[in-house]
Structure formats: C-alpha cells, structure tokens
C-alpha cells in the first residue's frame, strides 16, 4: 500500500507536467483543429530558457519560470504567424506536415545552438524530503503540483471569465460566426497559441527542475504522450486534458514501478489505440455525427 501511494505521488508529479503540455495541445486543436506537433518542442525550449536564466544568468526560480513562459508565448505566436497562418484553409494533413516540419526545425536549431549533449539543470529550489507515514514527498514535487494547479486555475479563469476567453470559446465553436459577430479571429488564435505555449514553457522549467537534465530531443516523447493525454480526456476540452495528463502520468509510473520500465511507453500507446477505437471523442467528449 505504501509503495502504491508512493508511485501515485510520483505519478502525480509526472502527470502535472503532461497535463500542462496537454492543455496547449487541446486548446490549439479546439480552435483550429491542428495537431501542433511542435508543441513538445516548445516545452523543450521552455526547459532551455529556464536553464539559461538560472545557470547562466543566475536568476531565481520564479523569475526564470516567468521568463520561460513569456518567451515561449512569444515563440508560439511567431510560429503560428509564420507557419500555420498561411495554411488556415489547407487540409488538415497539410497543416500536420507543416507542424512536423516546425518541430524538426526547432529540434535541429536547438541542437545547433546549445549542442546535442545533455545539460544539467541547476537545483534552484530547495529539495527537502518529507515523510508522511512511510511515503516520501519532496518539496519539489509539492511545488510542481502547486504551480500546475495554480496555472490551471488561472487558465480556467481566463477561458471562463475574460473577454479573450469568451472570444476563444466562440471561435472554437464556429470561427465564421464569431468573425461576423466582430471577434478578431486571427488575434484570438494568436492568444490561444500564446497561452498554450506559455503553459508548455512552464512545464519545461518544471521538468528541468524535477529530472535535473535537459536535452534537445526531450520534447518528442512527452509531446506525443501529452497529446495522448489530450485525446484520452477528449481533445478540445480543457478539463479533459488535465484529467488525461494526470491519468497518463500515473499509469506510466505504475507500469514502471510494478512491471517493466521498458514497456511503459508501449502501454501508453496501447491506451491511446484503445481510446481511439472505443471512444474516439475521448472520455469527456461527446460524439459528433458527421454531416454530408
């Protein structure tokens, strides 16, 4: 039981990171129906920006987190403007291939600028171990969890209560109708990319803190897994992404804790395929009939 609780806590920390990335996927998909393959690489850039801020500029943890979120938001908007905006009316496969191209570009550029090797992320947050009834929780895990929940609440506030959030919801339901109602659709899409990328940037800094090591290809696998998390919860639905992220994180830690860590990725893919085959709209999604 203790071991199970321990795995659950480790899973929650990993799941928070997946959930933060999954939110960006799900928001972008909800608004322009694009699987933003480059999203995992924004998360990688966030980790590198955090690394530069803390290790080379000597900033504290929270300023570094803010800087990573801000710069990632900017990069997300630039990518959207340059690569995705010309393809608004293209087929979804065209947009998907473009996103793969952007992802390649970001990975290769980071490898060129920062080197292909692994970098050690400095320990900028005190890491104390707290024992509660045989279960070990580190202060880092608490910080990761708290920051994730805080950002999610902030996101819910933005989406539900602000004008930008209302515009985002309107565009995701029907972009043309929203435009007729005077919503600046392009601007709203840019905001969506900015918010999603900022969350991914935050996830990057948190993962750097948690695992201590970052590399230019670190975004690929978590990117795909976060996408799976978004699909699991129902893509386009914000609470679904949070739920899916925590679920995938916990499953992954449980599989590597009790079974073999070699198979943890395979299990995640199997979950994806089962979900896609049984309930393609995701756990919280509604089935939409196709109209001819």
């Amino acid at each position: 039981m203790t071991q199970f609780l321990q795995q659950l806590i480790n899973g929650l920390s990993l799941g928070s990171i997946y959930a933060l990335i999954a939110l960006g996927y799900t928001m972008v998909y909800g608004i322009i129906k694009l699987i933003n393959f480059a999203h995992g690489d924004i998360y990688m850039l966030g980790a590198y920006i955090g690394f530069i801020c803390t290790a080379q500029l000597g900033m504290g943890f929270f300023p570094a987190l803010a800087a990573a979120m801000g710069i990632c938001a900017l990069i997300g908007v630039i990518i959207e403007r340059i690569a995705y905006k010309p393809l608004r009316n293209a087929t979804r496969i065209t947009a998907l291939i473009t996103a793969i191209g952007v992802s390649y570009f970001l990975e290769a550029s980071t490898q060129k600028v920062m080197g292909t090797g692994v970098k050690t992320f400095p320990q900028v947050l005190a890491n104390q171990k707290i024992m509660i009834g045989g279960v070990m929780i580190t202060t880092q895990q608490i910080a990761i969890f708290a920051i994730t929940i805080g950002l999610m609440l902030l996101l819910q506030f933005i989406v539900r209560k602000t004008k930008v959030g209302r515009a985002m919801r309107a565009v995701s339901v029907d972009a043309d109708a929203a435009r007729l109602m005077g919503v600046n659709v392009d601007m709203t899409i840019s905001y969506t990319f900015a918010i999603g990328s900022a969350l991914a940037g935050a996830a990057g800094v948190l993962v750097g803190l948690y695992y201590n090591s970052i590399n230019p290809l670190m975004g690929m696998l978590p990117g795909v897994k976060a996408f799976i998390a978004a699909v699991f919860g129902g893509i386009g639905i914000i609470p679904g992404a949070m739920f899916g992220g925590f679920f995938i994180g916990i499953v992954e830690t449980l599989v590597s804790g009790y079974g073999s860590s070699l198979y943890k990725d395979a299990v995640v893919y199997i979950i994806l395929i089962i979900i896609l085959v049984v309930k393609p709209a995701g756990l919280l999604g509604k089935n939409v009939k196709e109209k001819v």
Binding site: I93, L96, A266
Partner: protein
Amino acid sequence: MKNLLNKKNACWLVLIAGSYGLISLLISVGVINNVYLTVLMTIGINIILAISLNLIIGVTGQFSLGHAGFMIIGAYCAGVAVKQFSASLGGILLGMLIGIVISGAVALIVAIPTLRLRGDYLAIATLGFGEIIRIIILNMKITNGAAGLILPKLIDWQVIFAAVVICTIIILNFCRSAQGRACISVREDEIAAEAMGINTTKYKIMAFVLGAMIASVAGALYAGAFYVIKPEMFTFNKSIDILVLVVFGGMGSFTGSFIAAGVIGVLNTVLQQFSDIRMILYGLMLVGIMIFRPSGLLGTKEFTFSNLFERFGKRKEARG
C-alpha cells in the same frame, strides 16, 4: 498476354535494361566508386520505402506515420533468418519472405481497428503502432535488444535494382487495377465513394497491407546491405524521413517519389559534413513546401511513355 508486348512496355524494358547497363558500365569504368555505390543503394531502398508509403498516403489518402514499424519488421526478419539459418543470399531472401508475411499480418491487425479513424487521428494511431512494434522488438531476446544485430553484407546493388523494379511494377499495376481506382476514389471523397458502393474499409486495408509488405522488403534490403540494424534506427523519425520523400515528390506521384529519393539522397551526401544543418533544412523544407507548393514537386503527375507518345503524336498531327 498479347497486349503485354506493345510499344510502351518495350520502352520501359529498354529504360530498365539501359539504366542497369549504365550503372554497371559506370562501376566497371570506376566513375561510381564504393562511396557513390552506397549512396545509390540507399537511394534504391528509399525509393521502395517512398513508393510504398505513397501508395498509402498519396493514392489512398490514409495518413500513416508508422511506416518505420513495418520496415523494422522486414529488417529484423531478414537479420534473424541470417543469424539462425544461413548467412547467404538464400538465407536473407527467406528472411525477406518471412518478413513480408509477418508484416502483412501485423498490418492487417493494425489496419482493421485504426483505418476506421480519419485524418490526423489515424496518423497518431499509426505512430503509436509503429512505436509499439519497435518496443516489442527492442525487448525480444532473438533480436539482441538495443545492441542490435551485426550482419554480413549479403545484398549487392543488383538485388536492390531488381527489388526496385519489381516493387514498382507491383505497386503501379495495383494502382491501375480496379482495386487501385477504388483506392483513388477513397482519397478523393470517402463519402462519395461509399455512396457509389465501394467498400472503403476493404480498399484502405488492402493498400495499407500492400504498402506495409513492400516496406518490409526495403527493411530486409537495408539489413543485408548496411551491416548493422538497431531498433533505434527505426524510430518515429525514420517514418518522418520517408514522409518527407513522399511529400517532396508529390503525394500520389510515383515519378515524384523516385525523383525525391534521388534528390534527397544526393543532398544528404553533399551535406554530410553539415549533418546538423541538414536537419534544420529538412524542417524548413517541409514547412516551405507545404506553404508554397503543397502538392510537392510533381503533384499527382506521372511520367509515362504512353503520355509521351500521345504528346509526340499530337505534335506531328499539328505539323501535318
């Protein structure tokens, strides 16, 4: 059989024999040295991979991101056959046959649930399957895990040349058969095709399985020609490399796939010293092609002798 012997088939035969003769001549003269020969063999294998993926993406319109998964099956079946049975051309060809069967069976298992999905969902599901296949092979004993297999060189360029010709003929004949036409109709408009009484699922599966079998041939050739196979060579990135070839040449154009495999093969050799820049260029190229020329180099155009004759004939008529 009578209409097999016509002018255009004769022309194709001459073209095949001619290019075979040209390559052997250049090798014997010494213009093509070992380095260039390796490039040529890579291009041949990439052609097979590109046309097999083109059958799935370009002709049938089903977006698969798991093609490397079928290539790895072919590579490992050939590798294991060489290790277990005999290290000879016969051994590797036997492995290739086993690989074709297994890859076809796996593709069928993958296709039946996933091909009900559309567009980007299908892409992600196939990506997942490709990775699952790789993880299974990574964890098997007979495949020697992450260390991979080291093989003798059993495949020379003649075998690859023959394989390119045979695979191309099979795929082109499939595309021009009734089944192939049905696949094209699925690409153009799935709902309309269904309304016309075409069993869309059946034809999607057919194209997917055929593409997977041919990808496994390419895997076996790769194993026999390049000494080492490791699971890490066949990740999702390999699938993307194949996708780049198809997109660059034009989705739906086999001539385009040939040209793209050639151009990118030569580019890779030229940019060998700058392998990091190569990846940046790949990324920019994908984005650029999609924004400025989403149909690729050739779109869905094909080079055929019958077209050539037609155009030639018209010009004569106009002059006369």
